[in-house]
Amino acid sequence: MSHLDALPPWAAILVAVFVLAGALLAFIGSLGLLRLKNFYQRVHAPTLGTTLGTFCMLAGSITCFSVLEGRPIFNEILIGVFLTVTTPITLMLLVRAALYRDREEGSDYVPRAPKHE
């Protein structure tokens, strides 16, 4: 813990709050993935950790390394941008695949395909 002692108290508390918030959000997202009833509800839960949880953790990381090195460090922004772009794409593809599979099976749970398709 030698390098963390170099942090001033305000930065240490800020990093602690960010890290805890991020981990808590990711935890709640995974809990939702476990507890919710069906697939179309479940697919929403982990995005809580993907967006807000990751952003809190990245903010904590940026604060920690910027204060430690004495200059702004923005490597972490790359992860944030990448996740923001990719998460909707994967989830949309996945839900379309699930809808297609459910319709193929004639499941009563999903609405029928519109006529013109």
């Binding site: 813990m1 990711a26 997202g29 476990l34 950790g49 379309r96």
Partner: protein
């Protein structure tokens, strides 16, 4: 005092993230259908990436951020390929 707080917060965060990974793993094993397992895989790699970031803060090495970026990239590619597979039955047509 504030540094003890930070160390405790990081430890608690790591425990929470490991629990989250465990929940995703349970869903991946139990998931009634294939799409549930793919969503669980997605959640699992995001949790692993956040866990790597906390390890990076604890050890003070920026390299863990690059490792997290690689995990995010590969996880996106694998989830994409699996979703495509569920849709059509093959990845590359």
């Amino acid at each position: 005092m504030s540094h003890d707080l930070l160390a405790a917060a990081i430890l608690l965060a790591q425990v929470l993230l490991l629990l989250g990974m465990g929940f995703s793993l349970v869903r991946m094993i139990r998931g009634p259908r294939a799409q549930d397992r793919v969503v669980a895989l997605d959640a699992l790699y995001v949790n692993a990436m956040i866990l790597l970031l906390t390890i990076g803060i604890r050890t003070g090495s920026v390299l863990y951020v690059e490792a997290g970026l690689v995990i995010a990239l590969l996880g996106f590619a694998s989830t994409m390929a699996l979703a495509k597979f569920l849709m059509r039955g093959e990845v590359i047509e």
